[in-house]
């Protein structure tokens, strides 16, 4: 009886230690925010056949594709929308903040420019505070967001894409309390602005999603999580 109690106690301690070691694994959460949706169409984008498409369609397609890739690599993903529904900007940030995410990506699409545009918040960096103003909550995370943008930039360049880096004032990102980057995908253009790969091209979408997934894996490794 005494031996059984000792063995049980040892088992409980070992299980506790194992759970403590595995806790960081469960903490790596990626939030994917497919911008626009429902009544909010976003920008109008002409596909290569000349038809008008809504930005919300492309952002959702990229979100779904990226979610699948990340889930296949064992990363926990939270999405702000899974279908064509209207989600308020505050609700999006709220979802991201409640998820206690390691990465938040706000996904956008545009027919202007070429390749992928990465944006971190234009807020000035600030010290973390217990209570942060909602509209500038991202200020305490700006430096981490810039580092994340750097990792995404390297992965996209490695995949042979044109990338531009910038700062933006986007209310959703400015309210997020996680390393957050707005990713805008534009058609891939060749010389003379000719479109090489349109946004509707599944192969192009897949290349972008693969590069982003690779970057997030690297970010997870840098964060010290296997």
């Amino acid at each position: 009886m005494r031996w059984t109690s000792l063995a049980l106690a040892a088992l409980v301690i070992a299980a506790g230690q194992l759970a403590a070691q595995q806790a960081p694994l469960a903490r790596f959460v990626v939030v994917l925010d497919a911008a626009h949706g429902g009544d909010d169409l976003g920008g109008r984008i002409k596909d290569q056949a000349g038809r008008d498409q809504a930005e919300k369609t492309f952002t959702l397609a990229l979100s779904v594709r990226l979610r699948s890739l990340l889930a296949a690599r064992g990363i926990q993903v939270v999405t702000t929308r899974e279908s064509d529904t209207t989600v308020d900007a505050n609700r999006r940030a709220e979802l991201a903040n409640h998820a206690n995410a390691a990465v938040c990506l706000s996904l956008h699409a545009s027919e202007s420019g070429s390749g992928v545009h990465l944006f971190a918040s234009s807020l000035a960096p600030a010290q973390p505070a217990r209570f942060a103003p909602w509209k500038t909550a991202q200020a305490a995370w700006v430096e981490r967001s810039l580092a994340l943008a750097g990792v995404l930039n390297s992965a996209l360049l490695h995949a042979g894409m044109t990338v531009s880096l910038g700062r933006t004032a986007l209310p959703v990102v400015d309210s997020m309390t996680c390393p957050a980057v707005a990713v805008e995908i534009a058609p891939e253009r060749g010389p003379g602005k000719a479109v090489k790969s349109g946004l509707e091209d599944p192969a192009y979408q897949a290349r972008v999603a693969e590069a982003l997934a690779a970057a997030l894996l690297e970010w997870r490794t840098e964060a010290g999580q296997p």
Partner: protein, 227 residues
């Protein structure tokens, strides 16, 4: 019984009245058209009498998402508000030109007004966007003796916002190029706010936040760099 000649006379007079009414209506229309045509041909813009000066424009490029300083010679009025409007007008004319690197329809007429006010403190500007402390009644808005930092309020037309291409990069480039151009030509302008048709507006075309105050210096990058 009415005599036959009176009936005929009545019909003839009635017909004459109807014909005269129609002729008078047509003459009235013609006179109205002449008046309208005369208004159209009246000059709507004062002749340019201001001497040409050098202005630095921060011109956006969608290809690489950069802002590049470009020096242009254009007539600039002495009044700071009109000067700011003239410079922004030239910038938006470049964007409206065919083969522009940052195509945005609209041109110079897209800037309805630019107002210059004493700038509020940075905390107030970046926080709630509170307006500047009101001046005493009767004090001109753009005081020529004003030497401190200024807040520029750029009032854009609804047509410009409605026709602006939608996208994070393209909208931010427009906002930053306006802020940077204002600061480059009127160094006292340190903060910029936007209105559309005189009203606050949430975003320019679905992305760039127009409810916040932009710090002009943030938008002035090193040559050719991204904002």
């Amino acid at each position: 019984m009415i005599p036959r000649y009176q009936s005929i006379l009545f019909v003839v007079l009635l017909a004459a009245s109807v014909v005269m009414s129609v002729v008078l209506w047509q003459l009235r229309d013609r006179a109205h058209q002449r008046l309208v045509a005369g208004e159209d041909s009246a000059p709507t813009q004062a002749p340019e009498v201001a001497p040409a000066e050098q202005a630095t424009l921060l011109v956006a490029n969608d290809g690489d998402g950069s802002l590049l300083a470009q020096v242009q010679s254009l007539p600039l009025p002495q009044d700071a508000g009109s000067r700011a409007r003239a410079v922004l007008g030239k910038l938006l004319d470049l964007y409206a030109a065919p083969d522009a690197a940052h195509p945005v329809p609209g041109g110079a007429s897209s800037v309805a007004q630019v107002f210059l006010l004493p700038a509020p403190t940075l905390e107030a500007a970046s926080g709630s966007g509170a307006p500047a402390k009101p001046k005493a009644p009767g004090t001109p808005l753009a005081d020529s003796a004003q030497t401190g930092p200024e807040l520029a309020i750029v009032n854009l037309t609804g047509a410009f916002a409605a026709n602006h291409p939608s996208g994070l990069e393209t909208e931010m480039l427009t906002v930053y190029s306006i802020c940077g151009t204002l600061h480059a030509n009127l160094p006292r302008v340190t903060q910029v706010r936007f209105m559309v048709d005189g009203q606050p507006r949430a975003t320019l075309a679905g992305h760039a936040d127009l409810t916040r105050t932009y710090l002009a210096a943030e938008a002035v990058p090193s040559e050719g760099a991204h904002p």
